[in-house]
């Protein structure tokens, strides 16, 4: 099916309904079976990212001009803050607070937008941030900073470069940043260990840990690379290669039910699912599912259903479809 917006991010309300966000801040609800599409709400802050609270009641939206919170059932605006670039909206596992980036700072609010934590300014605009348990990891030019459990005091791990994305392992052991200089920087949380993976042909804009923290996948090349973080981590190990994407992975999504399954999409609309159980270090992996492309527009988001048996692909031209993976 097709919608009349150009989605840049998406999240699942349930296995039948998807919320789509475009760069202007329009948020649409799509019913996959009936193919009904409704405009849920419009974020006046524009659109970069959306995230649904774990109880699926509150929708958090980050945009070029700030962030906003909406009720997910009727799209009522609960709170918004304007005035600075925001590119992150991430809910804490408890569902009672959400982390936003806001210009050079981060802001944690409750579900109604009431501020709980507001950091001081970092060295530049915060490009990504993530929860590590109750701590917060922040990426801004010049390094990664990790807070205490109150989210108030930050300790910086320096790296001279422009950081674009950040992922913290669910185990809390590792933080990884993808960078403008086409590298991955890996920071061990417990000590000063830092590893660097260089040589990608393009900047790294996506780096994502899987659900048990033993794999990390990133873009930066035509192939997606997957690093093993099992045991002592990736040092001395070669990545598993997910080959033959074009223009780099534009969407990387780990299954929420099987730690070894990953779905990837690229800039010409190709969509694949891979099983890492079959992967060998340093070797290209053969895809478990290689779907016929329904659109040659970039895949912007891939959503797994709650059972792990299907994925929903969201293309930038508004084409959306579900594919069985099992």
């Amino acid at each position: 099916m097709s919608v009349n917006i150009n989605p840049i991010d998406a999240c699942s309300l349930d296995d039948e309904r998807v919320l789509l966000l475009d760069a202007e801040g329009h948020i649409c609800e799509v019913f996959l079976t009936s193919r009904e599409v409704t405009l849920k709400c419009e974020a006046s802050v524009g659109g970069n990212r959306i995230s649904l609270s774990p109880n699926r009641e509150i929708l958090a939206c980050a945009g070029p001009e700030g962030f906003a919170l909406f009720k997910s059932d009727d799209g009522t605006l609960l709170e918004s803050r304007r005035g600075s670039w925001s590119s992150v909206a991430k809910w804490h596992d408890s569902g009672n607070r959400v982390l936003f980036t806001f210009g050079k700072s981060i802001c944690v609010t409750d579900s109604y937008g009431v501020p709980i934590v507001e950091s001081e300014n970092f060295s530049s605009t915060v490009t990504d941030a993530s929860w590590i348990g109750d701590k917060i990891a922040v990426a801004a030019y010049g390094g990664v900073s990790v807070s205490d459990e109150q989210g108030s005091k930050f300790i910086k791990r320096e790296f001279v470069g422009s950081l674009l994305c950040l992922s913290a392992s669910p185990t809390g052991d590792w933080i990884v940043s993808g960078n403008q200089d086409a590298s991955l920087q890996v920071y061990k949380v417990s000590d000063d260990t830092r590893l660097e993976m260089q040589g990608f042909p393009r900047k790294v804009t996506i780096a994502e840990f899987n659900l048990d923290g033993k794999w990390l996948a990133n873009n930066g090349a035509d192939e997606v690379t997957v690093w093993s973080f099992a045991g002592k981590g990736p040092k001395g190990r070669s990545p598993v290669i997910l080959p033959k994407h074009v223009g780099g992975g534009t969407a990387i999504s780990w299954s929420k039910t099987d730690a070894n399954l990953i779905a990837t999409g690229d800039s010409i609309g190709q969509l694949r699912v891979w099983d890492l159980k079959l992967g060998l270090e340093g070797k290209p992996l053969y895809p478990r599912n290689h779907f016929e492309s329904m659109s040659n527009s970039p895949v912007k988001s891939i959503l797994w259903d709650s059972h792990g048996s299907s994925i929903i692909a969201v293309h930038h031209d508004g084409i959306i479809y579900r594919r069985e993976t099992s």
Partner: protein
């Protein structure tokens, strides 16, 4: 071949030179184009049909081995969002602050893969106040402090000498002479209230190698240059065919060692054994070059211009001459020089 990428014009100029006036003129002109404007502060321009986004000039050093390579992180973010919008734009204008160094803006379009694929840097336009610019251009800064006004002129592909109505002919000629000392390659257009013909400023293709070729005569303008520490331009025009390996080695070494001081360089070159013109341009150390149209029956003349600080004409000319192959070993067909 049509280039479907969105053209980006960078508008620089010292405080009070008329950048916002020109921006408003461009937006108000009846051209039917959808224009997105990235400016320093909201509210300076206000046009219903234009999308205005504020930038905060975050300049990042790159960790890519190029010591003078910087990018504008804010532009990468803002353009990344703009390019994904349903309402497509025909053109993007980036207004810089009066004190801005244009290099990070230009380098952003060399360095960032996504921007390279979606946008093409069309030109850097520098506004100059005909009445007051001379004092800025000739101001001696303390050691380690840049003269931003001079750098903005040095980087320009086009210069608009604005407010000529309030400047005397003597003031105008003095400022033009000073501009030409700094950047002899950029055409100068005079204007009152920024009323320059927009055809001279938009779709110039100053970073388009084919159009560099069309604008070839600009390279011929040269001025007497005395080697000193000021910013100036050196034009080189030589017949003969170049050894591509020697040329790459020389340019690589030159830009590697002196890229911090060489702001812009452009060239149309005759490569030995090749029928096409080789066009290149560089911003500091970042270099882009390709073979373009065939020489055909036209005379094969190498033309290069360097704009920067501490330029040594003799050294540059000698280095360039060493890349020319002798007529005895040339693979280029006789009769085509």
């Amino acid at each position: 071949m049509n280039d479907s990428r969105i053209p980006v014009t960078v508008l620089t100029g010292f405080l009070g030179s008329g950048k916002t006036t020109l921006l408003n003129r461009i937006l108000n002109e009846n051209h039917g184009m959808r224009i997105a404007v990235i400016e320093n502060e909201f509210g300076e321009v206000g046009i219903d049909d234009a999308l205005v986004m504020a930038a905060d000039e975050e300049i990042f050093e790159m960790n890519n081995g190029c010591i003078c390579c910087t990018v504008r992180g804010d532009l990468i973010r803002i353009l990344g969002n703009l390019l994904q919008r349903k309402d497509k734009f025909d053109r993007i204008l980036i207004e810089t602050t009066g004190m801005a160094d244009p290099a990070p803006v230009a380098q952003t379009f060399f360095v960032d893969d996504e921007l390279k694929e979606s946008c093409r840097l069309d030109a850097i336009i520098t506004m100059v106040d005909a009445k007051h610019a001379l004092q800025h251009l000739t101001e001696i800064k303390e050691k380690n402090f840049e003269n931003e006004a001079v750098e903005q002129v040095a980087f320009a592909d086009r210069i608009v000498l604005n407010k000529v109505d309030i400047a005397t002919p003597k003031e105008q000629s003095e400022v033009v002479a000073e501009i030409k000392k700094i950047n002899s390659a950029a055409p100068i257009f005079t204007a009152e209230n920024a009323n320059v013909d927009l055809k001279e400023l938009l779709d110039i293709g100053a970073f388009d190698l084919q159009k560099v070729l069309d604008n070839d005569p600009a390279f011929l303008i040269d001025t007497d240059h005395v080697h000193d520490s000021s910013i100036s331009s050196v034009g080189i025009e030589l017949t003969g065919n170049l050894d591509i390996e020697k040329l790459n080695k020389w340019l690589g070494k030159l830009l590697g060692e002196k890229g911090t001081d060489i702001f812009r360089s452009k060239g149309i070159l005759s490569i030995d054994g090749n029928e096409e013109r080789y066009c290149f341009h560089a911003v500091h150390m970042l270099f882009s070059g390709e073979f373009t149209s065939a020489w055909g029956k036209s005379e094969r003349i190498n033309k290069m211009v360097f704009i920067g600080r501490n330029l040594n004409r003799k050294e540059l000319t000698d280095g360039f001459k060493k890349c020319i192959v002798s007529s005895k070993t040339s693979k280029t067909l006789a009769g085509k020089k």
